[in-house]
């Protein structure tokens, strides 16, 4: 018995190991983070009119109505002005409660942060924190209008629209006290091209003259090109940027966290011995309202007030510190806000909890529903049958019941038929009135007229989040109602991204797109242009119209804001005439805010405006 026991123990340990591995893998596969905002995407956004810090409406329906009403109001202002406004500093919250300085804010997240090095971090969660640590030449006002920040005024632009000259304010300092000069911006942008940084952002900055050559030279390791020739620090306070083309989106790109200034001396200290990795993210010295006190893996990030913040003389930020905690499950986070341990949830409220909170008299006031500049849409592969026929695609735009979809996801969205979300400059109300339709009889008629083959079975693909699975079930039921057979196919999200990037692979499916920056080009070029209809690209509809591409290229260079937005509205209408997608809804972000938190506002690009928050005792 005892001798056999030894062999038994040996095999047992091996079996145990395999079981442990298997158990780990299986448990991970069951982990469905349904929060759409938690995918690896860029900044989240909101209703533009959230300048009014009123508490959220008491019912979901009222909230959606308020959101749509507020956004239409804001859109008119935003559409008219990608205006160049004079430096407007961020004013204190308009609630009537006088801001109180001091205190620590506790925010809860489930997942760990990505690297908080601005040239690396690329998720909503990480950008929300990076915005507290780093700022750049420009920033956004309460909505999506660019205003100067570290620059003393908006840049002067040459007549051909290619040369931008920025003048920095005097006496700027990083949080560690070292002075900030134009050379720091040149350094900060050039390091995006350093292959050792493994940055996802070089493509955005290749619009600068000489940037591509610089990047190629670094990648090849030949040392031929030593700098980006189009980037000049003329003197300590003057930065001159020459672009390869007149492209107005450039100003938005440098306002993203990756365009922020970092101190060269500090960054260079953090290289490892073989110059392959840089740990600057641990100290993260910048010019934002806060600075990093502690970066504890698995625990979270602690920020404290930056005494050298540009707006410190106005008393900002009010808070002494913020503790972004990680590893807190979304359901537990709600409990923690209720008992005061946590002040604000970072992740979306779990789908099931959301209606519960809204139906409670007290908690509904603490539940915030903010529009996100994103689309959730059905894409149809323009290169595969039956969707290579525009008549079929147009017919499909009448089939899907958006209201039913929104009910299934507990109203965490606003229905849409447009490409551009309501908070995006250039959003067209006119297009909205004609693109949002649902008529099964008309769909059937159009399909018959297009000689649609009702005998075929479509494969409807989605990723494996709870929301996606529910939505696909609903859409397939809609298809059945008009006599079309379809089968669902669920793929793990990484496999799904790969498959959408393969030509003639997925016929029809649903997917999301979140903005990188609030400019309409961000919803056209990366996902609806010929240039993006390539292997590994994000153009899941494989839509390519050379005329549209040409129009978009022209629109990029138009310097008059009004004319530019009108040009994009034309482009959007042209694309929607060919119906590569059936847009379904714009997602919302849902947050649960503690009772002690005051001055809460949600910015379309940055998320919660932590520098404006304060806590009552």
């Amino acid at each position: 018995m005892i001798n056999n026991g030894k062999k038994f123990r040996k095999y047992f340990s091996l079996a145990f190991l395999v079981a442990l591995l298997g158990g780990l893998v299986l448990t991970a596969c069951g982990d469905n983070t349904a929060t759409t905002a938690a995918t690896t995407t860029a900044a989240a956004t909101t209703t533009a009119a959230s300048a009014t810090t009123t508490s959220a409406a008491t019912t979901a329906a009222a909230t959606t109505a308020a959101t749509t009403a507020a956004t239409t109001a804001a859109t008119t202002t935003a559409a008219v002005a990608m205006t160049i406004a004079p430096a407007a500093t961020t004013a204190p919250a308009a609630t009537g409660v006088k801001p109180v300085a001091g205190g620590t804010l506790n925010v809860a997240y489930k997942s760990n942060f990505d690297s908080t090095d601005p040239v690396v971090g690329y998720s909503v969660q990480t950008w929300n924190v990076e915005h507290q640590i780093y700022t750049g030449l420009l920033t956004y006002d309460k909505v999506t209008t660019l205003i100067p920040e570290l620059a003393e005024a908006m840049p002067t632009v040459s007549a051909d629209g290619k040369v931008f000259t920025f003048k920095l304010r005097k006496g700027l300092k990083f949080s560690n006290g070292s002075p900030l000069t134009a050379a720091d911006f040149k350094y900060s942008w050039e390091r995006i091209f350093d292959p050792a940084m493994k940055s996802p952002f070089p493509a955005f900055f290749q619009i600068i003259q000489g940037a591509k050559e610089y990047g190629d030279s670094l990648n090849a390791g030949d040392g031929k090109v030593k700098e980006i020739t189009g980037l000049k620090a003329v003197d300590d306070v003057t930065l001159q940027v020459t672009l390869t083309d007149a492209d107005q989106t450039f100003l938005n790109i440098i306002t993203m966290p990756e365009g922020a200034a970092v101190p060269k001396a500090e960054v260079e200290k953090h290289w490892d011995s073989d110059h392959k990795n840089n740990d600057f993210y641990k100290t993260a010295v910048g010019t934002g309202p806060f600075m990093v006190k502690e970066w504890a893996e698995g625990k979270g990030i602690t920020l404290v007030k930056n005494p050298n913040y540009l707006h410190a003389s106005e008393g900002l930020p009010y808070l002494d510190s913020i503790f972004f905690q990680v590893g807190i499950d979304e359901t537990t986070a709600i409990l923690k806000v209720k008992n005061g341990d946590i002040d604000l949830t970072g992740d979306n409220i779990p789908a099931a909890e959301y209606p519960n909170l809204l139906s409670d008299a007290t908690f509904s006031k603490q539940t915030k529903t903010e529009g996100v500049v994103a689309d959730s849409y059905v894409f149809m592969n323009n290169e595969m049958k039956p969707f290579d026929d525009v008549k079929v695609r147009q017919a499909f735009s009448y089939i899907f019941d958006r209201k039913k979809v929104l009910r299934l996801i507990n109203n965490r969205g606003v229905e849409t038929g447009n490409i551009l979300p309501p908070q995006m400059p250039g959003y067209s109300k006119e297009l909205a009135s004609t693109s949002l339709h649902f008529d099964k009889k008309k769909a059937k008629d159009l399909l018959t007229a297009a000689n649609f083959d009702f005998g075929q079975t479509l494969t409807f693909v989605s990723d494996d989040t709870d929301d996606s699975k529910k939505i696909v079930t609903s859409l397939i039921a809609d298809l059945k109602d008009v006599g079309i057979k379809a089968e669902p196919k669920v793929e793990q999200s990484e496999a799904f991204f790969k498959d959408t990037g393969k030509e003639k692979n997925i016929q029809i499916g649903i997917i999301n797109w979140y903005q990188d920056f609030p400019d309409p080009s961000d919803f056209i070029a990366p996902i609806l242009s010929c240039g993006s209809a390539i292997e590994g690209g994000a153009n899941s509809a494989w839509y390519c119209n050379k005329d549209v591409d040409a129009l978009e290229l022209k629109a990029r260079g138009i310097t008059d804001p009004k004319a530019r937005l009108l040009a994009y509205q034309e482009i959007e209408k042209k694309i929607m005439d060919e119906q590569p997608w059936v847009p379904l809804y714009n997602p919302v972000a849902t947050l649960f805010v503690g009772q002690k938190v005051q001055g809460y506002t949600f910015h379309p690009v940055w998320g919660p405006e932590y520098s404006q928050l304060f806590k009552t005792k």
Binding site: S13, T39, V120, K198, G298, D329, T332, L335
Partner: protein
């Protein structure tokens, strides 16, 4: 003699770890493409190639694996694809929490399970025995996740006796340890009960009783000591497994341990971190296994190491 045994076992251990890491490496690479896993579909193909080259992903898999082993034996477990922070550092940061929870969980299991087993054996067939069997069966059947959430909600949120998850205060460890204890105690209780019944019915016990030794002395001096041997085995294996991370409990209580790190890594298909956590978990299991084997001759002189 002993030294040779230990060296032979260590060599075997090395091969087990190689086997585990090869399997993990192959599976991870079959299942995922690291670049898409980290960046989704938002990165241009040219930049994809640059990053692939930096991470050495263009080399054939055996070369990548060889490079991994070469660096691992020097203590460099690579860097997370997602955060770029060193894997070993991430693991070492959370190890103290995992060790604390593993020890506390095991202690809870033993503190609940052993007395339950003794009572069930000594008062076998009685109502108390049947009650304990029922409770331990419930502890086995109820899902750990559910037990954890209920304990958290009742004792931390409603009664506020304990902190609501996390591992910041001294009392934070009690509820998670209790959750583990309730789930695992049944094994020890039943195992001990069965072992003790076997010993109680054996010849030497009858001899001791017939020689006039009191019931209590028979139980404590003879029966219990022999019955505890399998318990030691189980406890050692349990500890080894726990040190690899108690995933469900860590998730419920937001306990910052290796289990959570591993799950995050798997969810992100962050291969270096997956390899690191699996390696650490496997190492603990084989080490604990070795310790048990070394401990056995001490507990039972009849056993010799071969």
């Amino acid at each position: 003699m002993l030294l040779r045994y230990i060296l032979r076992r260590l060599a075997g251990m090395f091969f087990v770890l190689i086997g585990v890491t090869i399997i993990t490496f192959i599976l991870s690479n079959l299942v995922s493409d690291p670049i898409t896993a980290t960046y989704g579909n938002r990165i241009k193909p040219e930049q994809r190639e640059v990053i692939k080259k930096q991470l050495g992903l263009n080399d054939p898999l055996p070369v990548q694996y060889g490079r991994y082993v070469f660096k691992a034996v020097q203590g460099d477990l690579g860097r997370s694809y997602r955060t770029n922070s060193p894997v070993l550092e991430s693991i070492l940061n959370v190890m103290p929490n995992t060790i604390a929870l593993a020890a506390a969980g095991l202690l809870a299991e033993l503190l609940i399970g052993i007395p339950a087993g003794i009572i069930a054996a000594v008062w076998r067939g009685s109502l108390l025995d049947r009650i304990i069997q029922g409770i331990t069966l419930a502890g086995l059947s109820l899902p750990t996740f559910w037990v954890g959430l209920v304990l958290l909600y009742v004792f931390a949120f409603l009664l506020k006796w304990f902190p609501l998850g996390g591992n910041t205060q001294p009392t934070s460890i009690i509820l998670p340890a209790l959750t583990i204890g309730l789930g695992g105690a049944v094994f020890y209780a039943r195992l001990l009960r069965n072992q003790m019944l076997e010993e109680i019915n054996s010849d030497y016990t009858r001899t001791a009783r017939s020689k006039g030794l009191s019931g209590r002395k028979v139980i404590t001096r003879h029966v219990l000591r022999n019955a505890l041997l399998p318990i030691v085995t189980w406890a050692g294996l349990d500890l080894g497994a726990f040190l690899g991370g108690v995933v469900l409990v860590e998730a419920v209580y937001s306990w910052n341990g290796i289990g959570k790190l591993a799950i995050a890594a798997i969810g992100n298909l962050d291969i270096p971190l997956i390899m690191g956590t699996v390696l650490v978990a496997a190492t603990f299991i084989v080490i604990c296994n070795l310790f048990i084997d070394l401990l056995y001759p001490v507990l039972d002189p009849r056993i010799r190491l071969r």
